[in-house]
């Protein structure tokens, strides 16, 4: 841990965060809004990397956890008018419970079946939202009466602060003894078991942590948008974006995932003038990185360091 504060990674991250926090002083509200969304996305991607990069489990349904958090918070606020902050906390808790209930049986099946289970969970949630339209707003989406604030700068700072704190916790966790055991379980479950580690317990814990941050971020995002809709927080395509972001940034790096998410969203926006081509270009870049630099942005840098 102590080494970390001396490492280049720490200083670079610190400088980046400091610079980022000054942005509201001189950039337009439009860019702030874009980055606000990107930061929440960054947390989705980091939470996902904890599962894939460290526990070795591919969660094809990150939006199941995000969606449960987002919709729980939104519905509670809409139905009962409870305070925004209480709704956010309850949204995160709901995601944790949903994640636990999903992972407990899903972790018992091996390999691709875990991924399939998580994918099906997203479809079920999506159907649930459409069917119970009276409660959830259905396909049109749920309008939420309250927001945290309408000030773009404050929203930006909240998102940046939240992402930074999440990054510190998730990265710290990944480098802690528990993170090492998790990584060992992901890489070689048989050997980790023979070293005396309860693999299911560790993976379940990782899933719960991942669920907590996904749900919390989803709930915050809902109160930023003022709406919750399937297209923004539940759809499989959103989940695919989260996965692409994490892989793009670099597996097993946590921080790389946030970079990947910011890149994905910002690049998508800058290419907007190209119209329909934007998605295509971003996807093509993502595909090239995955094919030729499977370590991702940060992964490539880190493994070069490891070999030297």
């Amino acid at each position: 841990m102590a080494d970390f504060f001396k490492s280049r990674l720490f200083w670079i991250s610190l400088i980046v965060v400091v610079i980022a926090s000054t942005l509201p002083l001189y950039v337009s509200g439009y860019i702030l809004g874009l980055l606000t969304v990107a930061y929440y996305f960054g947390v989705f991607a980091m939470a996902w990397d904890l599962l894939f990069g460290f526990a070795g489990e591919v969660n094809f349904g990150p939006t199941f956890l995000i969606g449960v958090g987002a919709y729980t918070a939104g519905i509670l606020n809409n139905e009962y008018g409870w305070s925004v902050y209480l709704c956010i906390v309850l949204g995160a808790l709901a995601a944790v419970i949903a994640g636990f209930v999903l992972a407990l049986p899903a972790l018992r099946v091996r390999g691709p079946y875990f991924g399939l289970t998580t994918l099906v969970a997203v479809l079920i949630l999506q159907n649930f939202i459409v069917v119970f339209a009276e409660l959830t707003g259905g396909e049109i989406g749920l309008t939420i009466p309250d927001v945290i604030t309408i000030n773009a700068g404050v929203n930006y700072w909240i998102a940046l602060g939240f992402m930074t704190i999440s990054a510190i916790i998730l990265y710290g966790l990944s480098q802690s003894p528990v993170g090492l055991v998790l990584q060992a379980s992901g890489q070689d479950p048989v050997q980790a078991g023979a070293l005396g580690f309860n693999i299911v317990k560790h993976k379940l814990a990782a899933f719960v942590v991942s669920a907590f941050f996904s749900g919390l971020s989803g709930a915050l995002l809902v109160f930023y948008f003022g709406t919750a809709s399937v297209g923004t927080v539940v759809d499989v395509a959103v989940g695919v974006n989260v996965i692409v972001a994490a892989v793009l940034g670099g597996r097993r790096t946590v921080l790389g995932a946030a970079l990947g998410a910011i890149f994905l969203i910002v690049a998508g926006e800058f290419l907007r003038p190209t119209g329909e081509l934007a998605t295509f270009i971003v996807s093509a870049v993502a595909l090239l990185v995955v094919l030729f630099f499977p370590g991702g942005f940060l992964g490539a840098a880190l493994s070069r360091e490891a070999r030297s």
């Binding site: 090492l180 023979a194 070293l195 005396g196 814990a205």
Partner: protein, 493 residues
């Protein structure tokens, strides 16, 4: 045997049985380990020794039997609980954490099974350092695993296994992939575990490689114990000799000069293959004449499968492989197979959910209908059982029938050179006899050339015109099967 009676056993295995579906991999196995003893569990490939070790460790759940550790039956507990009771296991293949240092890798093994260990304390680091020194990793403990030589990666496995001071240490093939000098160092390390009062259980293929190290040996075959005793007694045992060397082997070799081609049909010249850092083949040269039956004899891990996969074009190599004057380098595996070099792999690779007939049809897909029918009829004569089983799904066949189907499918491709990799793996003696007869018939009635890889010498010798012995990635002996037993046989006990 002659140890003082007052030493108590630390581990007693009683009637251990492990079944996988209909297959009984371990049958009613019993053994005792005393503290400060090195015990060898020995058997040829497929004899169930590794399964037995995994069942003791809890990686495989035993079907029956007891694993009593210090008076407590642990059978049925998951591996992580058994490990915490005082067991450590050294794996043959390792996947260390590549972004962490050697020291951190050892520290992982020392951590408690807790979700709340967020900071490692200094005592843990000190203990990890001590272990690193203990196994000879002191020099490299701040390096990362990808930069280490193979032997150091094996040391890291030893370090992890003894990290939490286990009373019982299980070691899977301690010397696999090591050079002779390294074998000496590792033997010393394992002896030092014994001297610290640990009970050590080694699993290996043959008695010889561990004879100098073990106090007692249990030899097993087809899942059952043959005999337990001191290494030299076990090596003298009649049944053990028969399992490894066969009884009086009748050979019927044709002399090499009787083959008419002056340039051999297939020449492997100075071929070397590496898997990462481990050398799998080192300057291997062999040749086979048209119509000759050649056996490559070697223990598991010697490099037989690697050699065959190299010939089949599946692995990158240094050196040359020449067939009838034409270099095979650069040809795709599919083209090599089409050209008549057909491998029947050790793992059989049948299409389990297709019928016997469909599997055979796939093998003969490039033949005209007429040729295919003729070849099929000939094949059914060679293996009548396949005719009876035609419409059955391949995965429902017995092990022996599956092997016949695998060979049959290879023969449907009308190979000029047939490569059989360990066809006898895990098969009962009665099946071996049927396979033997089929090979004899191939030899007498067809012009086919055969390359047979075996660790079962009893099966390999009778069918060979010439024998090569492959050991630690190198060819160490070549000659007439009749001279094998006296010149090279001792290595196979």
């Amino acid at each position: 045997m002659d140890a003082p009676l007052n030493t108590t056993h630390v581990l007693q295995v009683r009637g251990l049985t492990k079944r996988f579906g209909g297959l009984t991999a371990v049958k009613n196995l019993s053994l005792d380990l005393r503290p400060g003893e090195i015990f060898g569990l020995i058997g040829p490939n497929g004899s169930g020794k590794s399964t037995a070790m995994k069942a003791i460790m809890g990686i495989e759940r035993p079907s029956e039997g007891e694993v009593v550790f210090e008076g407590e039956n642990l059978a049925g507990l998951p591996a992580h609980k058994i490990a915490r009771k005082g067991f450590g296991m050294v794996f043959q293949h390792s996947r260390p954490l590549n972004r962490q240092t050697v020291l951190e890798n050892i520290m992982v093994a020392l951590l408690p099974d807790s979700l709340f260990m967020l900071f490692a304390d200094k005592a843990l680091t000190d203990r990890a350092k001590w272990i690193a020194e203990r196994v000879g990793l002191a020099e490299v403990m701040d390096r990362r695993p990808p930069t280490l030589p193979f032997a150091d990666l094996r040391r890291l496995e030893l370090a992890k296994a003894i990290a939490r001071d286990p009373k019982v240490v299980l070691v899977d093939e301690p010397f696999a992939g090591l050079t002779l000098a390294e074998v000496g160092t590792f033997s010393e390390l394992i002896r030092s575990f014994r001297d610290e009062g640990r009970a050590v259980l080694l699993v290996d293929h043959n008695v010889k490689s561990v004879a100098a190290l073990v106090d007692r040996v249990l030899a097993m075959y087809l899942g059952e114990e043959i005999v337990t005793g001191r290494a030299d007694d076990v090596m003298r045992n009649e049944t053990v000799r028969r399992v490894y060397l066969g009884g009086a082997i009748e050979t019927s070799a044709r002399p090499e000069t009787s083959f008419e081609d002056s340039v051999p049909l297939l020449q492997v010249e100075n071929v070397s293959v590496h898997y990462g850092k481990a050398q799998a083949l080192e300057n291997v040269s062999i040749h086979i004449h048209q119509g000759e039956f050649v056996s490559i004899v070697g223990l598991n891990g010697a490099g037989k499968t690697t050699l065959f996969n190299t010939i089949s074009g599946l692995l990158p190599y240094n050196g040359e492989i020449v067939r009838a004057g034409e270099k095979l380098r650069g040809m795709t595996p599919a083209r090599i197979a089409r050209s008549g070099i057909v491998q029947c792999p050790e793992s059989r690779e049948l299409f389990g959910e297709m019928s016997v007939r469909e599997n055979l049809d796939l093998g003969g897909q490039h033949l005209s209908d007429q040729d295919k029918d003729a070849q099929m009829a000939w094949l059914f004569e060679l293996f009548p059982i396949l005719k009876e089983r035609q419409n059955q799904m391949a995965q429902t066949l017995s092990g022996g029938e599956q092997q016949m189907l695998a060979i049959g499918r290879a023969l449907m491709m009308k190979p000029k050179i047939l490569i059989l990799d360990e066809p006898t793996l895990g098969l009962a003696p009665v099946i071996l006899e049927q396979l033997s007869k089929a090979l004899e018939k191939l030899r007498q009635t067809t012009p086919i050339t055969l390359l047979l890889g075996e660790q079962n010498v009893t099966f390999a010798l009778p069918h060979a015109d010439r024998v090569y012995v492959l050991e630690h990635a190198r060819i160490v002996w070549e000659g007439d099967p009749g001279r094998f037993a006296e010149e090279a046989g001792t290595g196979y006990l």
